[in-house]
């Protein structure tokens, strides 16, 4: 069945998942549902301890069995040890058919690939995957369908009961013996625990794993003892060097600086750029550079930001330190400066649900004026792909891309027109992961295209000295340099689905076929 972004979703996938095809960004607005609650085992006996010696023991206590769903968060990013530690023990117990429901998975989790191959893990739900897990899924090694969903989409799936988490494992930088978890302090300081909050609220059993046990009460708790069943102390839950790195040096790459400059010039020429505006940006070199140049113009024109959202980095936190923004709303910290900034009273931690869940009574993303995003590919319909590489392999994550794009008044994608020989602006993206109706502007090193649906933005850019082009022109420039790419050959087998924020199906990911020359 063809969906609203023109992708053909096979009937058998619709049947197997019970899902609908994507029918537009706000198709489910007004939808009414009853939230799902966890099955909770109470702790009233004051003599009982929640401390358990090992992950192995806690799995036994939680009655781990075949077919369960395990929850994980990705605040430790590429420094995470939790997923591998837990899955190693699950594998040792000979458990099969596990569904992993993670807020994201990365190269750090390459070691679980053998467990995919041997049937320990048969389903993966994540914002995305990179590295060997991506290759394994794309080559058809995962028994079930991988589900790729946004940060907001994950919260929706869990709160609505579509996904039930049997056991959630929460890596906690600090924790007390009764399960009060904080993202702050310890060896694996990641600042916030935003993605894990929904696991705490909705998983039947919640296990906190820490490498820094602190005396009770570890307050104010980010995840309360009221939700935690067990506490395990491990030697190390993450590699601090890879959790929050030193702030990236501002880029000196002229290509990125040029795109950042185009982006900033665009932003300041929209009617939304005025006192009290709101803004979110990513961690790419061009995004960071555009935040820096925007801060300069804000100062020159005496314009103040009301709030900044995100995945935060130093340049965003500098806005707070320099009193250019009223407050920051934080879901994740990418560098040590951002982790440190969490201590600021105007730096607020928010949950992934507050941030982006479309099945809330409203989310923070809906109040955004601007979001600056990246992409692997954008097509002439402004559809973006941030998950599947142009070679057909899964190699990225939706993150908050579709959430913020849908929420923000002005969603800008910055992308270099050519990534090596791969044209980033193309006729049709390999997979649609954010629908084009959410994307307003594409900024490249060769020019800027405004979505023709945004006639208002086109009008206010009249007379602005920027290299405006149509999206088709950008594609044509790219193809004239690198040649038109062949379509990647896929097998019929569907290995994963790209879920829209609202749970409908945006696209499917198929098994990649081995390449053969056509004239053989």
């Amino acid at each position: 069945m063809i969906n609203a972004v023109g992708r053909d979703i096979p009937e058998e996938v619709l049947k197997a998942t019970g899902k609908e095809v994507f029918q537009g960004v706000h198709y489910k607005d007004g939808y009414t549902y009853k939230k799902d609650g966890p099955v909770t085992r109470c702790v009233s006996d004051n003599k009982k301890s929640k401390l358990v010696d090992s992950i192995y023991d806690v799995l036994i206590k939680c009655n781990i069995k075949d077919g369960m769903t395990l929850g994980f968060h990705h605040h430790f990013r590429e420094g995470d040890y939790i997923v591998n530690m837990v899955m190693e023990e699950v594998h040792r117990l000979g458990i099969k058919d596990i569904t992993i429901c993670a807020s994201s998975l990365g190269k750090a989790h390459d070691p679980i690939v053998p467990y995919i191959e041997d049937g320990t893990i048969t389903n993966i739900q994540s914002s995305g995957v990179r590295g060997k897990i991506g290759k394994a899924i794309s080559s058809g090694k995962l028994k079930g369908l991988a589900i790729m969903r946004s940060h907001g989409g994950r919260v929706r799936a869990i709160e609505s009961g579509e996904t039930r988490i049997d056991i959630a494992f929460i890596g906690a930088p600090t924790c007390d013996d009764y399960g009060n978890c904080r993202g702050i302090g310890g060896k694996s300081n990641c600042g916030v625990l935003s993605y894990a909050l929904v696991d705490g609220d909705y998983a039947d059993q919640v296990v906190a794993i820490t490498d820094c046990l602190v005396p009770f009460p570890n307050f104010p708790a980010h995840i309360s003892m009221t939700k935690v069943d067990y506490v395990v102390v491990a030697d190390a839950i993450g590699n601090p060097d890879k959790i929050a790195t030193g702030a990236a040096k501002p880029t000196t790459d002229m290509r990125k600086l040029m795109m950042a400059d185009y982006c900033t010039q665009f932003v300041v020429n929209t009617p939304y750029f005025k006192d009290g505006f709101s803004y979110q940006t990513g961690v790419g070199g061009a995004s960071i550079a555009s935040t820096i140049s925007l801060a300069r113009i804000m100062k020159e024109r005496n314009i103040r930001m009301r709030f900044g959202v995100g995945g935060l980095t130093k340049p965003m936190c500098d806005l707070l330190a320099n009193d250019q923004v009223d407050c920051l709303l934080d879901t994740q910290d990418f560098d040590l400066d951002a982790v440190e900034s969490v201590k600021d009273l105007k730096h607020f931690r928010i949950s992934a649900g507050e941030y982006a869940n479309p099945f809330n009574k409203g989310a923070v993303v809906n109040k955004l004026d601007f979001v600056i995003l990246a992409a692997l590919e954008v097509d002439v319909n402004f559809n973006c792909n941030v998950v599947v590489g142009s070679d057909g392999e899964i190699t990225g994550a939706q993150g908050g891309h579709p959430d913020t794009a849908a929420g923000a008044k002005c969603a800008i994608v910055i992308v270099p027109l050519l990534q090596g020989r791969i044209p980033a602006v193309c006729t049709e993206v390999t997979a649609v992961t954010t629908p084009g109706e959410s994307i307003d502007v594409v900024v490249t090193d060769y020019g800027i295209a405004i979505n023709p649906k945004r006639q208002d933005l086109i009008d206010c850019m009249k007379g602005v000295d920027l290299p405006f082009k149509t999206i088709e022109e950008l594609r044509d420039i790219a193809y004239s340099i690198v040649g038109e790419p062949e379509r990647v050959e896929f097998d019929d087998k569907v290995v994963g689905i790209i879920e829209s924020r609202d749970g409908t199906i945006l696209d499917v990911v198929r098994k990649v076929k081995e390449y053969t020359f056509t004239d053989n």
Binding site: S390, D391, G420, R421, I422, P485, E489, V512
Partner: protein
């Protein structure tokens, strides 16, 4: 042109490719490893074959490790390897066999 000794040109840097030629006795034996094989495999092969044809090479083992090179770079590396193999560095046929 006859390939008498092995030769190589190009690098493994992004946007470049490394081409190796060796004497062959079974026509053109072509081997390609490319980061963009799914999108440009046929195009790369076509450029390599055309270049070999222009240079009148019919017996060669040629292997290309491609890091996203444009057609003009692929041609340049194939020619670079071939002329190195032939030991010719002056009076090259610009606009003739090299085109």
């Amino acid at each position: 042109m006859e390939i008498v000794q092995p030769a190589m040109a190009g690098t493994l840097e992004s946007s470049d490719c490394q081409v190796t030629v060796e004497p062959g006795d079974d026509g053109i034996e072509f081997n390609l490893e490319s980061v963009v094989i799914n999108q440009y495999g046929n195009q790369i092969k076509k450029v390599v074959m055309e270049t070999l044809k222009n240079m009148e090479v019919s017996q060669v083992k040629i292997s290309v490790i491609d890091k996203g090179a444009l057609d003009c770079t692929i041609k340049a590396r194939v020619e670079g390897a071939l002329f190195r193999s032939a030991g010719q560095f002056d009076n090259l046929p610009w606009g003739g066999a090299v085109r």
